[in-house]
């Protein structure tokens, strides 16, 4: 009996924990996935069953219906940008809202594309569709990185905070600076270049790829190695100390850059998702007005 009740308590706790950690993707037992999937299925089925002559297009009654649903969804989905600024719990919680945002957003692939009747071209109408797809695809990327990267981020940080990372780098720099004092000028300059380079510099490209071909620390280490490599270390050459310190800084930088890369991946999609959404709203307005302007 005792074992059973313990087990029950444990199961209950696990359930509660699972609920606590239930992300927006799994919210409410995939409630919005089911709603969105049902909506897509209904739309696809009706698209196939409804006979529109001469062929499906946005201007048929069915096309107008899909278009109206699409616009409504887009406006509501955009409202997440305002809604997210207020965190509330419950059925209308931000989590529920985000879950619906994700799954209903995905359903727009079906609704929006069937609204076009697959009549695409170089015009404002297709521009609106293309922007919508861009927003959705960037959103899918965002969800993918949100699902995959936080783990990698945490592993890489190794329980260090960002402040600690910066402090470690600073300590490293100070030590290198002190250790390099006895060096002849030529070598001192090489070491100085490592100190002067901004570890947080580099372009968005460097951040996203994690490739820093112009890394001064790597260059300094290579230069120092040219001397320290072939010679024996008796512990009395200041260059040997600089060598060791530069190597440690290099390792530190590698971790920092991996951290920056993961963070950049988590952020970069929003730089497409948000402006493309606003551009989509503009294109949508142009699309709707132009359709009725030249009717």
């Amino acid at each position: 009996m005792a074992t059973q009740s313990t087990r029950r308590v444990q199961t209950g706790r696990q359930e509660r924990q699972a609920q606590l950690h239930d992300g927006f993707l799994r919210y409410g037992g995939y409630r919005w996935l089911r709603i969105s999937g049902g909506l897509c299925g209904f739309v696809i089925l009706s698209y196939m069953l409804v006979d529109i002559t001469p062929r499906h297009n946005g201007g048929s009654w069915y096309g107008y219906t899909l278009g109206t649903i699409g616009v409504g969804l887009i406006l509501w989905l955009t409202a997440l940008g305002i809604r997210k600024r207020t965190m509330t719990p419950g059925a209308w919680s931000l989590k529920a809202w985000t879950s619906a945002h994700v799954y209903l957003g995905l359903s727009l692939i079906v609704i929006g594309t069937l609204h076009t009747g697959f009549q695409l071209g170089w015009n404002v109408h297709t521009l609106a569709w293309a922007l919508m797809m861009l927003v959705i695809l960037s959103g899918i990327f965002g969800i993918a990185v949100y699902a995959a990267l936080p783990n990698a981020l945490s592993t890489n940080r190794d329980e260090m905070t960002e402040t600690q990372m910066l402090d470690a780098l600073r300590a490293m720099d100070r030590q290198i600076h002190d250790a390099a004092q006895p060096l002849p000028q030529a070598m001192a300059e090489v070491v100085q270049s490592s100190l002067e380079q901004d570890a947080f510099g580099g372009s968005a490209w460097n951040r996203l790829t994690g490739l820093y071909p112009g890394c001064a620390t790597a260059r300094a280490l290579a230069k120092v190695r040219e001397t320290t490599g072939p010679q024996a270390d008796f512990g009395n050459d200041p260059l040997e100390k600089v060598d060791t310190l530069l190597e440690r800084k290099q390792a530190m930088l590698t971790r920092l850059r991996r951290h920056l890369r993961l963070r950049a991946m988590l952020e970069v999609w929003l730089y497409i998702h948000v402006p493309a959404t606003i551009a989509l709203l503009a294109a949508l307005l142009a699309h709707i007005v132009s359709v009725f302007f030249y009717w």
């Binding site: 006979d51 219906t65 071209g121 170089w122 404002v124 910066l166 100085q192 100190l195 950049a264 142009a286």
Partner: protein, 602 residues
């Protein structure tokens, strides 16, 4: 001569610590090496970087020892004289040495300005770890894109549309800028010239294309039926259709029945797609429910919802001097076409009877085969669509000769189509010719007088000569009799009928087009044998209507989208804008085939 070296260091909590040191030397050394008088822990400073020496009580000379220089008041220099009373700032790597004077000594105030490394300098942690500043901001990009789209793709076309000059001619070049981006698809070939000239059809803002715009060019389009009939014929739309109609009316769209309802544009390059049968079926599918007085049968699909054909047939033959009476009768009622002829098709197409024997006799002269075939008498029209009327002189007379006399090698023939002339010819013939002279009257033999007696040869010959003109009436009656040269093919009325003086022949009517509302082209069916549709070999009467019925056509033709050999929408046989010509779809196909053939030619 002395230097007062004042070193300012800053503690972690920001306090300044000032240390003074007096050096009683005329010259001091500056560098990174520990043994220098001024020892600067700065990797940008050489171990032995510079010397500072006093020239006199006021002036000092600064000169660099190594390859790196220094700055004096921001200016790069390798050697510089400084008036200590005036003062100056020397920059060496990340350090600043301010030169001044205090009492008898020259003061050198040393302070580290630059951080040991970039990382050690001030950093905004909230920003440096994020992408902020690495990419164009979300907000400016969003605004820029939105404004760009709204201006270029919305405002510019709308404003230029509003400001365009009034068009004298709708076909003239466009004045609206940027509206090409509004076009949802290319125009069809027929309207290709209007591409980019949107306002030629879209005349008013927020008003759909009106029929008037179409009629500006297509002035000759026939109406399908009176507008009131069409309005009464139209089926009440379903829920979806009502919704669309509601939206359409709210935005001032014309119709139903507007040109654009059927003629959809912007569906891509190439010919405009033919109107689908649904557009016809909307009314004609259940037309009788609404237009109860219509003579038309309901039709919505050729495969299974099309009434039997109703050809135009002569129900009453024409009497001499009058026309036959025509009526459209369904083939289901097995109508007879009383065309005024007596002509058994079967007899003429037999391969074994006298007709076939005659054909073989005339094989070389007339180009017949072993028996007669359809083309021996029926000649297609130039376009191949229908057949020319059968012509007695050309098509029948090679067998049915009207010759009655021979003069030398030339045959005299009766005039076809002129019964009174036939009578006159025969009378004249008997009046001007003698009976055939008996054999005994020939030669130079002397004859005895007794031959004039009753029953003798002279008496017989001259007696016949006296009554010969009266024999013409017999010949005429024989020609017009049912077995005679006229009566064997024609319906004939004897003199006195309807008060006429002479013999009369009933008019013959050969119908060129039986289906008035549908289009049929023999040219399009020339891969078929005549007999596969027309059962002529088994026909015994001229009045047999040898037209194939609906079932016969359905062996190849099915409705639009059916699996039949030829899937056929309404537009293949019927014209919406009814006229006598071929349906638009057919003319287009013929034109296309023509241009394809033209292309194939070298």
């Amino acid at each position: 001569m002395a230097f007062l070296i004042r070193t300012i260091t800053i503690t972690a909590d920001g306090r300044e610590i000032i240390r003074d040191r007096r050096v009683e030397k005329p010259q001091i050394s500056v560098g990174r090496a520990a043994e220098r008088d001024i020892h600067l822990q700065d990797l940008a400073v050489e171990p032995d970087h510079a010397r500072i020496e006093q020239i006199d009580e006021r002036r000092v000379l600064v000169r660099s020892v190594g390859t790196l220089g220094f700055t004096v008041d921001g200016k790069v220099s390798g050697r510089s004289e400084i008036d200590a009373a005036v003062g100056a700032e020397i920059g060496l790597g990340g350090h600043r040495i301010t030169v001044g004077r205090e009492g008898d000594a020259v003061t050198l105030t040393i302070k580290r300005e630059a951080a040991v490394s970039d990382a050690v300098g001030e950093k905004d942690e909230a920003e440096i770890f994020s992408l902020k500043g690495k990419l164009l901001g979300k907000r400016p990009v969003a605004w820029a894109l939105a404004v760009l789209i709204l201006v270029l793709l919305l405002a510019v076309p709308m404003v230029t549309f509003a400001l365009r000059p009034a068009p004298d001619n709708p076909k003239l070049a466009s004045h609206v800028v940027g509206d090409k981006a509004w076009s949802p698809g290319k125009l069809s070939t027929a309207h290709h010239a209007l591409e980019g000239n949107c306002e030629a059809c879209h005349v008013k803002a927020f008003q759909s294309v009106r029929d008037e715009s179409c009629k500006a060019c297509h002035a000759d389009a026939h109406d399908h039926a009176p507008a009131t009939r069409i309005a009464g014929a139209r089926e009440t739309p379903g829920l979806g259709g009502l919704l669309l109609q509601g939206v359409a009316h709210a935005f001032g769209k014309p119709g139903p029945g507007a040109c654009v309802d059927c003629h959809r544009e912007h569906e891509g390059e190439g010919a405009m797609p033919p109107t689908p049968q649904k557009f016809c079926a909307d009314c004609h599918g259940t037309l009788k429910d609404r237009l109860t007085d219509t003579k038309l049968g309901d039709a919505s699909d050729f495969s299974d919802a099309h009434p039997e054909f109703r050809p135009l047939v002569a129900v009453k033959p024409g009497v001499p001097g009058g026309h036959p009476t025509f009526e459209r009768i369904s083939l289901a009622d097995k109508p007879q076409d009383l065309n005024g002829l007596k002509f058994p098709h079967g007899l003429h197409l037999s391969a074994t009877n006298g007709v076939a024997k005659m054909a073989r006799t005339l094989q070389v002269e007339q180009g017949y085969g072993d028996a007669l075939v359809c083309k021996d008498c029926h000649t297609p029209t130039a376009d191949g669509v229908r057949f020319q009327p059968v012509d007695m002189e050309k098509d029948c007379q090679s067998c049915h000769s009207l010759a009655f006399d021979q003069i030398g090698g030339t045959f005299r023939t009766l005039r076809h189509g002129k019964p009174d002339q036939v009578e006159a010819e025969l009378r004249a013939f008997y009046r001007t010719t003698d009976p055939v002279a008996p054999m005994e009257l020939g030669g130079a033999t002397r004859r005895r007088p007794g031959l004039y007696a009753q029953g003798q040869v002279y008496n017989a010959f001259f007696g016949a000569g006296v009554v010969r003109p009266a024999r013409a009436e017999d010949a005429i009656a024989k020609a017009f009799s049912p077995k005679g040269v006229c009566g064997e093919c024609h319906v004939v009325a004897p003199p006195g009928t309807n008060g006429a003086r002479g013999w009369q022949v009933a008019p013959v009517h050969q119908t060129a087009r039986f289906f008035e509302s549908g289009w049929f082209s023999h040219e399009a069916h020339k891969t078929e044998k005549c007999e596969s549709c027309h059962n002529a070999p088994r026909s015994a009467k001229a009045s047999d209507l040898l037209l194939p019925d609906l079932k016969s056509c359905r062996t190849c033709h099915g409705g639009e989208g059916s699996k039949a050999k030829v899937a056929t929408g309404c537009a293949l046989c019927h014209n919406y804008h009814i006229d006598d010509g071929a349906p638009w779809l057919v003319t287009r196909k013929v034109a296309q085939a023509g241009s394809d053939r033209g292309r194939q030619r070298p």
